[in-house]
Amino acid sequence: MDISLNKEELAFEKEVEDFLAEHLPRGHEMWTKRAEWFAALKEKGWDVINWPKEFGGPDWSPTQHYIWDKVSCKEVLPPVMPFGQVMLAPVLMKYGNKEQHERFLPDIRDNKSMWCQGYSEPGAGSDLASLKCKADLTEDGKHYIINGTKIWTTMGHVANWIFCLTRTSSDGPKQEGITFLLFDMKSPGVEVKPIFTLGGSHHVNQVFFTDVKVPVENRIGEEGKGWTYAKGLLQHERKGIAGISRCVYALDKLKEKAQRVPVGDSTLIQDQGFKKKIAVAEIELLALEFTELRSLADMVNSGSPGSQSSILKLKGTEMQQTIQELTLEAGGIYATPWGNKKFGPKFSKGGMEGYLNGRPATIYGGCSEVQKDVIAKRVLGL
């Protein structure tokens, strides 16, 4: 047992630090210098770090990924929507054909296409496989005709492509007969209706399909095998949702903010009760970081993550919510003005926004209840 980094690993850590120091746009430049940042990443070969080498990835070891996370989580990186690069790409690479690779991967890599995910339906939440959105093959076998609806489609109102689970057969178990299709959001018959979430945000949508015509060459893999492809994708989603390094960052920010919350002549960071709640969260995170590391080590040893990995999504999202709750509390009455950017002490604007927007983390990507069922089944053999 040893957690020291060896010489090569230390050198890599330095390389990452130097790269960020040189290229990362900070503060407001995060938005204005996005393009330069992505160009620098691509130049360095670090633009698609989770992709395999054959598709342009840097072929990092799990330890290198860990080092990247550890270093980069101390900063705010210009965000990339995960749907294309993180979620669809692995499926496409594994199950798509060569023509599909050439057609879709370059734009995904360069953030030129914007994807959304067509998974959930009003009647199918955590029980995703019960989906009903129909895809009927035309008689000439050249197209699928899509009818149905998808819900919770994040960024559906700005995306130009969707990857979509559709039902091509209702015979047999519900997991069979699901087909994985890609199509253009500008296709006739696609209608996007906004869903306003608590506090009035618009990130998610319900998408309606009426006789949407999708060329058969947009199908990934075989007809009826979509569930198999999608399951692998869910794992990638879960890993992303856990966001443990992000929690570490957020907790540090909360400690900073609490120094800006006046409590008479003192500040909130001097409040023992509040400080202890931060400490409890921090201890949980200290453990969780190491649980992630142990999972990574199992990955290195055996090629698959250990049973610890099942903990990450569940506890990671709980931690996010804990930090959001503490941020809300820090806000006091100044958490209540809507979209507050102007009033109150200079701190945690949007404490309430974070609290409200953070609730779905324990719902989507396999809700916490399902995660516990899964642990009972896979880890405890129940």
Partner: protein
């Protein structure tokens, strides 16, 4: 001992319930919230006509002569509608101020108008640096001739935008955080030097940052005693907390009931969601927490209504419990609804938000736990060995 409502109380409850049922549909509420005023003047008139605006005022003052139990009933039912009208600001906050500290002249001038709906008022007690400490008052009222000149800024003042009068806590002597030296003044909202920055709050109500720039008031605008305003402020807070908690308890009931209903209908994995034992147990726990809050609400309200010396402690206990349980119930409701729980479409999300806002008012649950702990009775140690080792 009797937990039954009197006939009058039942009538009151029924009439509010009916009004909410008839008028406070979620869609209408949304439109109303987005209107310029943010609430309905028409409804306000109806409140007046029904006598609700006069509920806590004595009959001799032109009110309805209700007590804290009546107000509890009223607030619980109004809360179920998540009403947008400034009842809390004008009747609860300003009402408590007037009843407990108003001079005969002030009562004369204001209560009639509040009861008829022609006058609205609010109380400005909070400041940025104070966090939840009512003592901490940086706004000053300096003696000037026969009157005073008020300067300072007050935080998140409920419904100040539509208030005709703002009752404000200012420092007339002492250091910023002294208990002594605070005085309340009734200020005409149209006075020179009063300026407002208005905003909606996340629960679709309205509030303002209120700045007083050398606002002139006269000595007759003093409410309660000069320099001894803290006691009155605390009285206002106690009554306000009871009212807010009554509202919260009503919301909790709806939250767990709506959740049970929704999960009975919704199927996953071939079963109604409500068949899953973990959800059943969560619902049981939500029910328990709601009932425990109700017990504390009754206990604190009845004790306060009886003038018991212990009631402030109970009010801190109540606010703690409602904040803590409110989070559990609200989050449980949202989580059990899945994606639908976080949309604006269902009312549960709105109660969820309202409970979070109520928790922040006058200090969140941790703050009230600290206050309770401070006041908790510690019996003298009788030095007896325990004869019941079981405990």
């Amino acid at each position: 001992m009797d937990f039954n409502l009197t006939e009058e109380q039942s009538l009151l409850k029924d009439s509010v319930e009916k009004f909410i049922g008839d008028n406070y549909d979620l869609n209408d509420r949304r439109k109303l919230a987005q209107s310029t005023l943010g609430y309905s003047e028409d409804f306000w008139k109806q409140y007046a006509d029904l006598g609700w605006l006069g509920l806590p005022f004595s009959e001799s003052e032109g009110g309805f002569g209700g007590d804290l139990i009546d107000t509890m009933i009223m607030m619980e039912e109004l809360g179920k509608g998540l009403i947008l009208e400034p009842y809390y600001a004008s009747v609860i906050l300003a009402g408590a101020a007037l009843r407990n500290g108003g001079t005969a002249e002030q009562k004369d001038k204001l209560i009639g108008g509040i009861v008829s709906g022609d006058i609205k008022a609010t109380v400005a007690y909070s400041e940025e640096q104070a966090r939840f400490n009512l003592n901490d008052v940086a706004t000053t009222a300096e003696k000037s001739g026969d009157g005073y000149v008020i300067s300072g800024t007050k935080s998140v003042v409920a419904n100040a935008e539509t208030a005709d009068f703002i009752i404000v806590a200012a420092r007339t002597s002492g250091e910023r955080a002294d208990a002594k030296g605070i005085t309340l003044f009734v200020v005409d909202a149209k006075s020179e030097g009063v300026s407002l920055a208005n905003y909606p709050t996340v629960d679709a109500l309205r509030a303002s940052e209120v700045t007083f720039a050398n606002v002139k008031v006269s000595a007759s605008d003093i409410m309660g005693e000069l320099d001894n305003g803290l006691g009155l402020l605390e009285e206002i807070r106690d009554e306000a907390i009871l009212a807010l908690c009554a509202e919260a308890v009503g919301g909790m009931d709806l939250l767990y009931k709506d959740t049970v209903d929704y999960c009975k209908q919704r199927e996953q994995f071939g079963h109604a969601l409500s068949d899953f034992q973990t959800l059943k147990h969560r619902f049981s726990e939500m029910f328990i927490e709601a009932e425990q809050c109700r017990s504390l609400l009754y206990r604190a309200t009845l004790e306060k209504n009886n003038g018991s010396a212990d009631s402030r402690k109970l009010i801190h206990a109540l606010k703690y419990k409602v904040g803590k349980a409110g989070r559990f119930i609200g989050q449980g409701a949202v989580q059990s609804h899945g994606g639908m729980g976080v949309t604006e479409e269902l009312r549960i999300g709105h109660y969820f938000i309202r409970l979070a806002v109520i928790d922040s008012m006058f200090g969140n649950f941790d703050y009230h736990l600290d206050q309770y702990t401070e006041l908790m009775t510690i019996p003298d140690d009788k030095g007896e060995e325990d004869s019941m080792p079981f405990m």
